[in-house]
């Protein structure tokens, strides 16, 4: 079917692969949701079924367009099976769901190959098994079905056509027709560009497919004839003149009207259909080239002439009928229950399609370009600071300049915000994959687990999305495999049989938190300590360790507490990888656990590339940046306020509170200007209700800094969350206050 040249094909394949992955991403959770519903209530949500059907149908359409036969065949079978459920000939069960999910996996596998090989031929054989399984399932249903000849019928029984299905069909039909129309219109403007003809053809083809499936024979026939003409045009066998386009548009309008009548009255009739078909056929049969005029008599071929009489007379219903054919305005007939969007006219250049799938107006941009833009914006922020704080301007009266700088500053921040937001992607996609994971895991282990997802709209940087998936998979696996008990065990403990795993995402203080919680048995302190000793991770039996310190052990390489190795986890490669991957993102992971009540993993990841307000401080010759958000105040203490504890810890009393002091020069081993606390400055910092004082030489001032990751080569550095490039181009370390404060805590015990 595809005739474009190689590069075009590559381009199409690229889009196809991307789109298909998205489609599958959409389909999987739907399939699982459908199964859950079917299991709990024995009913299948028709709407969901239809959505899934459509997803596979779209896939099939694109695949067949690209001549990917294996994908086409598989999706066709999936469609057939789903169709049976839609017709109510069988109720979907777990086996079917597994098959559908296997299909989804298989197609993904094919997509990976298609991406590079541009063909799916090598999977032709591998598909055999899946195809067979489909055949079996389909045979089983059709044989046991109450009405064995139901399949042979072109349409299906009246009572199955619900209002909802009608509405869906109509919505989709108008969508396809709109697209066809839009393409025809651009095609008319540039008839030499056959790609438009091709797109029009595809949309019309989809419409035809749907009409055929619904058994709307008339619509199918008419679109078939229009399609034939379009096919000849896109093959270059037929010149595309305005007459051809006009007739095609007339056909489109007639189809729209026909669909509208079906929708409103259930009556299947397409006004003036035979005449239109005759004209389309005549045009299609013309021996191509530019000689269309000769064959066709001016009178009968005048597009304005023919069909108007046919269908401009309003039907018996009070619907507004389509505008005259030459005036291509889309008018949706008003019907009682067709939902929103009635009578909304779009101009000939085509407005937005309303689509049931989440398709926004988007363009695809090379990630590299985005990164470059962000880098430049970062530089801009720095340059702006360099101008605004330029030493040469010191002491000058610059009213106008300062105003201008203020304005510049505002715009710079706006640009920055927009640039940052462009890379932000909601976590929803990643989280949805977890739905699937949990389902697979529970099936394998015959556990009952309910996955709850909170805050999937939370947006994080794209790089974070890419890298958070693996750690999340590990955490969820652990929760299901180690955390949640078997149903029997649970009920004997008085817990509900179905366990609960919750993933929560939220923004807090410039970080993203992703929390994975389960209500399972919790971590086993004794077991962990025993393992810790076996592996030489702790010296004593660890009786004196705090729980948190014990839990930390599970992140050690090679550590695994699973008594037996299951097929999915327990090889002890999980948690240390989780920790390492999260740290790679500059993040942290904390564990909390309570025996018998569950475990919680809290992953904290910074928004990469973020820009923060920072206080730059000086210690000796070094400058450090402290995020403004964590600074409470800064003071110069008097001797009375300072107490030295016997454990060599300095404590400062501020308004009745005793706060520990961290001398930055000691922490980072830099020679300071002051060593006496009363000479320098104490900065009171706070994080999570932990407070402390940082001792520095002086404050240099507050400024906006671009966060840059510390090179991966250096690994993680104690209490440093990244670097900032200062106004003069020098690099300054950004202090990780949370880490700093918790390190004093440990030191204090």
């Amino acid at each position: 079917m595809f005739n474009g040249d190689m590069e075009e094909r590559m381009e199409y394949i690229k889009y196809f692969v991307n789109d298909s992955r998205e489609l599958l991403d959409d389909a999987e959770p739907q399939i699982i949701a459908m199964e859950e519903k079917a299991l709990s209530s024995g009913e299948v949500d028709r709407e969901v079924l239809n959505t899934i059907f459509r997803l596979f149908h779209s896939l099939k359409g694109s695949a067949s367009f690209l001549d990917l036969q294996t994908v086409t065949r598989i999706t066709h079978e999936a469609e057939t099976l789903l169709d049976l459920f839609r017709k109510g000939q069988a109720v979907i069960n777990g086996k079917h769901v597994n098959l559908l999910i296997r299909t989804s996996d298989f197609i993904r596998k094919i997509l990976n190959t298609v991406e590079t090989q541009l063909s799916d031929e090598e999977y032709a054989e591998g598909a055999g098994e899946i195809l067979e399984d489909y055949q079996k399932s389909i045979d089983l249903i059709t044989k046991t079905s109450a009405s064995p000849n139901g399949l042979e019928q072109a349409g299906f029984d009246e009572h199955i056509i619900t209002a909802e299905m009608n509405r869906r069909f109509f919505e989709e039909a108008s969508e396809h027709l709109d697209k066809t129309e839009k393409m025809l219109l651009v095609l008319e403007k540039s008839p030499e560009n056959l790609e438009y003809a091709d797109q029009a053809f595809r949309s019309l083809h989809s419409f035809k497919g749907n009409a055929g499936f619904f058994g709307y024979r008339e619509l199918e026939v008419l679109s078939h004839h229009a399609e034939t003409l379009l096919d000849r045009i896109r093959e270059g066998e037929k010149a595309c003149d305005s007459k051809a386009v006009s007739f095609l548009l007339i056909a489109v309008d007639a189809l729209r009207e026909g669909a509208a009548r079906v929708e409103s009255s259930g009556k299947l009739e397409v006004p003036g259909m035979n005449e239109i078909i005759a004209h389309l056929d005549r045009l299609a049969a013309e021996p191509g080239g530019n000689n269309g005029e000769k064959v066709c008599g001016a009178d009968e071929c005048n597009p304005e002439h023919v069909p108007n009489g046919g269908y401009e007379k309003p039907a018996e219903n009070e619907n507004e009928v389509a505008a005259p054919a030459t005036q291509i305005l889309r008018q949706v007939p008003k019907t009682g229950n067709s939902g929103g969007g009635n009578g909304e006219g779009t101009g000939p250049s085509g407005g937005r399609n309303k689509q049931p799938l989440p398709a926004q107006q988007v363009i695809r941009v090379d990630l590299e370009k985005l990164d470059r833009l962000l880098d430049l914006v970062g530089e801009l922020v720095i340059a702006e600071a360099m101008v605004a704080n330029n030493q040469d301007l010191k002491g000058m009266e610059l009213g106008g300049f300062e105003k201008a700088v203020l304005q510049l500053d505002k715009i710079t921040r706006d640009i920055q915000e927009v640039a940052m937001s462009m890379r932000m992607v909601p976590l929803a996609g990643t989280f949805r994959k977890m739905v699937r994971l949990v389902r697979d895991l529970t099936q394998k282990e015959s556990k009952k687990v309910n996955l709850e997802i909170i805050g999937e709209d939370t947006e994080v940087d794209k790089t974070v999305i890419e890298q958070i998936s693996d750690p999340l998979v590990h955490l969820i696996r652990n929760a299901v495999d180690h955390g949640i008990e078997s149903p029997g065990e649970r009920s004997s403990l008085g817990k509900p049989e179905t366990g609960k795993v919750t993933i929560t995402a939220k923004h807090a203080a410039g970080d993203v938190w992703i929390i994975v919680e389960d209500d399972g048995k919790g971590l086993d302190r004794e077991k962990i300590l025993r393992k810790g000793m076996e592996h030489g991770l702790i010296r004593s039996d660890g009786w004196d360790l705090k729980d948190e310190e014990v839990w930390e052990l599970i992140f050690e390489p090679g550590f695994s507490t699973a008594g037996k190795i299951t097929s999915i986890s327990g090889r002890g490669v999980g948690m240390d990888v989780v920790k390492r991957n999260i740290e790679k993102l500059g993040g942290k992971v904390n564990v909390r656990s309570k025996t018998g009540a569950g475990t919680m993993f809290a992953v904290r990841i910074p928004l990469t590339l973020a820009i923060i307000e920072g206080m730059v401080v000086k210690v000796g010759n070094c400058r450090y940046t402290i995020p403004i958000g964590s600074i409470k105040e800064s003071i110069q203490p008097v001797a009375d306020q300072i107490t030295m504890t016997p454990g060599d810890l300095e404590v400062v009393r501020i308004r009745g509170e005793m706060l520990p002091v961290v001398r930055l020069h000691e922490l980072y081993k830099v020679p300071p200007k002051f060593t006496d606390l009363t000479e320098g400055i104490l900065i009171v910092v706070e994080n999570n209700e932990k407070k402390g004082c940082l001792f520095v030489d002086e404050l240099l001032g507050q400024q906006q800094v671009v966060i840059k990751g510390l090179s991966g080569y250096l690994g993680r550095v104690r209490s440093i969350s990244g670097c900032a490039i200062l106004g003069d181009g020098d690099v300054s370390m950004i202090l990780d206050i949370a880490d700093l404060l918790s390190s004093i805590e440990v030191g204090r015990q």
Partner: protein, 177 residues
């Protein structure tokens, strides 16, 4: 269809071969403690003068810190110190050779950069087997250029050998009992 693909592949291959051709056997040489060293040119992305270096805590002495390379923060290593040679104050001939390995940019501080040399494979001898000092680990071979010998460094080993132990040992020690 296959034909076009094969053609494409061949082109890409040719391109990369061409690249390899121009870069193969070429070494950037630099002086370090009076000795001349070489590093494969394909790793080198640029050479810059000495810059303000910001120290990073908890690093081995040869990691001097980080610099701002046009908005990118990259670590710099004093190769002298890496080899255990005595430190020497930086002057206006001190250079930072920026190399890129596995998408990781690192600056190497050297006394001065000398030239780019062609040293064909048959002129390169394996490193001496004598186990004198640890520093031989970073050597990839000895390149003969006329009467002189250049010490050819293994860039990968220079960056990663033995350094792992150090880097992984840090923060955990605090949290562990």
């Amino acid at each position: 269809m296959m034909n076009t693909r094969e053609r494409l592949d061949a082109e890409i291959l040719e391109d990369s071969l061409e690249d390899e051709d121009t870069q193969e056997d070429k070494f950037l040489t630099f002086i370090l403690n009076k000795e001349e060293y070489g590093i494969e040119i394909r790793y080198v992305t640029e050479i810059i003068g000495i810059q303000n270096i910001t120290g990073v805590p908890d690093m081995p002495p040869y990691i001097k810190g980080v610099i701002n390379l046009r908005g990118k923060v990259i670590p710099v290593m004093d190769v002298r110190l890496r080899f255990g040679a005595p430190e020497r104050p930086y002057d206006d001939r001190t250079c930072i050779v920026v190399i890129n390995i596995d998408y990781q940019s690192v600056g190497l501080i050297v006394d001065r950069v000398s030239e780019v040399l062609d040293i064909p494979k048959n002129e390169i001898e394996p490193p001496p087997k004598v186990k004198k000092g640890n520093e031989n680990r970073y050597i990839q071979g000895m390149g003969k250029v006329g009467e002189k010998v250049k010490i050819l460094l293994d860039a990968h080993k220079l960056l990663y050998e033995q350094s792992k132990l150090f880097f992984e040992g840090d923060a955990k020690e605090d949290s562990m009992p």
